[in-house]
């Protein structure tokens, strides 16, 4: 077990290194740099900057240097905990992103939980009553979430909330709780706001979970140990929940890690539409303004989260499945 974790950790570090390189490459890919896009945005308001000033800034930001030099400086900084500064906000990146990443993790974490809550009963039902009307209805319901583009769903939800209830969904907090400390009313306020984006995000990923769970469970239901359990005289629901479901869940646990990148991508769009202060819109903006250290840090940290998520789900899997824990085939 320890050796397993150590091996995974080493692989993780290598992956992260590769990700950092590619992340940096991606943010360098588009033509121009932050200053070009800065000039462009100034020009849109009819403003101009002296080219001299731009050259000065370019030197200050180290933008004129070759790619590898810039990358190396960035990486060296990160190893010392310095992710560089945002060009747009002129602040250290670390100061800007934690709050947003926290919101992202919160919203996406909730979405994962909701997804499981929806997917578990539907997946189990669909497998146990394979090809029944209920199976069809349940899976269609589950898959509609996947099929409706997130931004459309979010938009429709907001519009319906406005026309039916006269409220505007959006944001994560009411103004009075915006900067308040966590307290019971603030948690309540958070949930009153967060349900909508969480729902939109969750419905997008539920179908995949249902699909995997249903397929796994169909396999497990055929296994003889299910008959054994039935022969013991256990009630049917207990038979299914205690044995095949328990086994069908194992491979699902390993999907937790993979869910994250998909959710992050989905949350960018949902956050833009529903106005959530998560990392997504900041990433989008930093990418379009080519605020590269900010964008790079967000990409890197999201990838780190994913890799850690994968590691955790692997360890979790080993913990709950004795076959893996004991190295059995």
């Amino acid at each position: 077990m320890v050796q397993f974790i150590i091996r995974r950790l080493i692989a993780m570090l290598l992956t992260l290194f590769a990700i950092s390189f590619v992340a940096f490459a991606i943010i360098q890919l588009p033509p121009g740099d932050y200053l070009t896009s800065y000039i462009a945005s100034l020009a849109a308001t009819g403003d101009q900057v002296d080219p001299r000033v731009i050259e000065n800034l370019r030197a200050q930001y180290g933008l004129g240097e070759p790619y590898l030099v810039q990358y190396w400086k960035w990486l060296a900084g990160i190893l010392q905990g310095n992710f560089g500064s945002s060009f747009e906000w002129k602040r250290p990146v670390t100061e800007l992103i934690w709050g947003r990443l926290g919101n992202s993790i919160l919203v996406e974490g909730l979405a994962v939980i909701v997804m499981w809550f929806i997917a578990l009963p539907i997946g189990i039902y669909a497998a146990v009553r394979k090809y029944s009307l209920g199976d069809y209805l349940a899976t269609v319901a589950g898959f509609i979430g996947l099929a409706v583009p997130n931004f459309l769903f979010a938009l429709i939800l907001m519009y319906l909330a406005y026309t039916w209830f006269g409220t505007t969904l959006g944001g994560l907090f009411s103004p009075e709780f915006e900067t308040a400390r966590w307290s019971l009313p603030r948690i309540w306020d958070f949930f009153a706001h967060a349900w909508a984006p969480v729902l939109v995000l969750a419905t997008g990923g539920t179908a995949e979970l249902i699909r995997i769970l249903r397929a796994n469970l169909l396999d497990e239901l055929k296994k003889p140990y299910v008959v054994t359990a039935r022969a013991k005289g256990l009630p049917e629901w207990k038979v299914i929940l205690k044995y095949p479901v328990r086994l069908a869940l194992n491979p699902l646990i390993s999907t937790i890690g993979w869910l994250l990148p998909a959710l992050v991508s989905g949350s960018v769009i949902v956050s833009v539409v529903m106005n959530l202060p998560t990392a997504g819109p900041m990433l989008l903006r930093s990418l379009t303004t080519q605020d590269m250290y900010l964008a790079g840090a967000i990409i890197l940290l999201l990838s780190v989260l994913t890799v850690i998520g994968t590691l955790i789900s692997d360890i979790l899997l080993a913990l709950i499945d004795p076959r893996i824990r004991y190295g059995a085939k």
């Binding site: 896009s37 505007t168 944001g171 529903m274 997504g280």
Partner: protein, 635 residues
């Protein structure tokens, strides 16, 4: 626009200013919250906070204190909303109908005959939001910092062709001196650009500069900045830089001061009244009336903002949400949302300006695009009535790139020439331009035998209707044998292609419909935005000499005239010179316009008083600030 109303207001302001100059104000009232602070001794009494002769701003009615003005920002980078709402406090300002320059922080000024020296006198007793006096020293400091190459700001103050030199005469009097005549200075200072000079308080900002604080570099490093310059930029950003509004400690002269700063993570930016604000109403009550501003920050989408406005959660706004497409929605929602729509007149003249690249690297295209017959032919091939009908639901009229009807420079011939839809005439002109042969697809051939195909760069993300217009134009031009291809690209690339000279044509909106003199980009090759003759503009500006190219004679003549405008101190003379430039523009017809930019609208909550039912929308005239939001109030 109802001109009578506008002039009425202007008159009132002018009279008020004269009255104010005549004697000290009454210092009659202040907000209840401030009264309490005065009573508890936390704040000096009103008389000590107001200047000797506060600026009197009149509204339709005397207001009551209180309330929060709710509005919305689009994304964290939307500093423009703040500039246009709060930060328009220069030495001078425009009156409400954008006609004359009137006093603001400066009580009076005079210029010498050749427009090289301007003397300003500041209002006595104006205080920064931290209570310290605003003096000539602050102006001198701003000039010094703006001219410091380590402080990256783009401004007229450090314009390298003709920078500002300052001479401080006393605490309240100073003189701007220029090497060359600067006849447009007052217009520039009254525009949004004027806020640069009043944006830095010496007492606060000097602590970050090594000239004033020998430890500046060390302190910057301690704060995690790699140089004192970056720390200075962070704490004392110039005029309207986004991060300026991220520092609540920075003293300002605005009506409201920052409560929740505009940081990267802000989902809301809030402001509260400035207890030291230096303007009063007609009865001498300290302004502003409205206690707080609340700007919700959207994360990049405006749909949530649209819904909020429909739901009555926005008190006054035009920016972002008042689109053509949304109008029926807002119109229908007036009763439910308890708001009504006000009129907004754009400063831009045209919905779409087609700029063919006069400096094209391909000699054949260069010659063709410079051929007036070709442009006239294209212009006649466009069925503008149809575009106005389809895209703008009949709003607007066929129009070239010319001053708007509201402008004193309006010239009907310039605005209307070649706008009638006449395919036969179009073909006549195209053939006169040498496009006589056609290929099998019915596309005319250029002199080198290649089909006349124009690739037009457009940023649909900026204005969705551009694509709609171009798609219709595509079909209309195909009918006379000119093919256009739409190249929908992103903004950075759009700008990168200019110095690279890597484009056939670009489109943009018709800026300069009202600010004719300040924004002449389409009338002659004036600046980087004169995309149609980018290299000629470089020749004029000298900013990028490496790619500059000598302009045609007529353009040189215009440039000469504009140089004369800059050196003239007489408004009448400047107007006359501008008219001469426009006459050449009319003759040369460099860019092709489509239709007059239709009026937009603002959303005004029904309980908001003194807010303008009609206003311009421009950047140089940063509305709604010139409409004095400080006298708006809630009933």
């Amino acid at each position: 626009m109802r001109k009578d109303q506008f002039f009425g207001l202007t008159g009132a302001v002018a009279i008020a200013a004269i009255l104010a100059a005549a004697g000290p104000a009454l210092a009659a009232g202040q907000a209840p919250a401030l009264e309490a602070l005065v009573a508890s001794g936390d704040l000096p009494p009103l008389e000590e906070r107001l200047p000797a002769n506060p600026l009197v701003v009149e509204g339709d009615s005397i207001g009551t204190y209180g309330g929060t003005w709710r509005m919305g920002m689009n994304g964290g980078g939307d500093n423009g909303l703040i500039v246009k709402t709060v930060a328009y406090e220069g030495l001078v300002r425009f009156d409400r109908d954008w006609q004359t320059v009137v006093p603001n922080l400066a009580e009076s000024w005079e210029a010498n005959a050749d427009a090289t020296e301007y003397t300003f006198k500041l209002r006595d007793g104006v205080k920064w939001s931290d209570g310290t006096p605003f003096t000539s020293a602050d102006i001198a400091f701003a000039v010094e910092i703006y001219k410091d190459p380590d402080y990256p700001a783009g401004s007229w103050i450090d314009n390298k062709n003709n920078p500002v030199n300052i001479e401080v005469i006393d605490e309240l009097t100073f003189k701007f001196k220029f090497d060359k005549p600067n006849g447009m200075l007052m217009d520039q200072m009254a525009s949004v650009d004027g806020i640069h000079i009043t944006s830095l308080q010496k007492a606060y900002c000097s602590q970050f500069h090594p000239t004033y604080n020998e430890n500046a570099a060390a302190e910057a490093e301690a704060k995690g900045f790699s140089s004192w310059a970056l720390y200075l930029q962070d704490r004392c950003a110039w005029g309207w830089e986004t991060i300026r509004f991220a520092n609540p400690d920075l003293p300002t002269l605005y009506g409201w001061v920052i409560e929740t700063p505009l940081t990267a993570n802000a989902s809301r930016v809030t402001w509260t009244r400035n207890p030291y604000y230096w303007k009063v109403d007609a009865e001498g009550n300290q302004l502003p009336y409205i206690d707080n501003l609340d700007m919700r920050v959207s994360q990049g989408g405006v749909e949530e903002l649209t819904l909020a406005a429909l739901n009555g959660e926005i008190d006054f706004q035009e920016r972002h949400i008042a689109t053509n497409v949304n109008k029926p929605l807002f119109f229908d929602g007036q009763e439910a949302g308890d708001y009504h729509l006000g009129e907004v007149i754009p400063s831009a003249s045209n919905t779409l300006v087609l700029q063919l690249n006069f400096n094209h690297d391909d000699p054949v295209k260069r010659e063709l695009y410079q051929n007036k017959d070709f442009r006239v032919g294209i212009s006649h091939a466009i069925d503008r009535e149809e575009i106005v009908d389809v895209v703008f639901t009949g709003q607007g009229e066929p129009f070239q790139v010319a001053p708007r009807p509201q402008s004193p420079f309006y010239d009907e011939e310039l605005a209307k020439q070649y706008t009638e839809f006449d395919p036969d005439l179009a073909i006549e002109h195209l053939e006169a331009a040498g496009l006589t042969e056609m290929n099998g697809d019915g596309i005319r051939l250029m002199s080198n035998g290649e089909p006349a195909k124009i690739t037009i760069d457009v940023i649909s993300a900026l204005r969705p209707e551009w694509i709609d217009i171009l798609e219709i134009m595509q079909l209309q031009l195909a009918a006379v044998g000119v093919e256009i291809e739409l190249n929908n690209i992103d903004r950075t690339l759009f700008y990168e292609k200019r110095p690279g000279n890597d484009f056939d044509a670009q489109v943009w909106a018709g800026d300069g419909g009202l600010e004719v003199v300040q924004e002449p980009r389409y009338y002659f090759p004036a600046n980087d935005e004169s995309v149609w003759a980018y290299k000629w503009a470089q020749w004029f500006n000298g900013t990028r000499p490496e790619i500059a190219e000598e302009p045609a004679e007529w353009a040189k003549e215009q440039m000469e005239l504009y140089t004369q405008i800059r050196s003239s101190s007489s408004p009448e003379e400047r107007a006359d010179l501008m008219k001469q430039i426009l006459a050449i523009t009319k003759e040369q017809f460099p860019v092709i316009g489509v239709s007059l930019m239709p009026n937009s609208y603002s959303i005004i909550r029904n309980n908001l008083r003194n807010a303008p039912e009609s206003m311009f929308n421009a950047w140089l005239f940063p509305t709604p600030s010139p409409m004095d939001p400080v006298v708006w109030y809630f009933e």
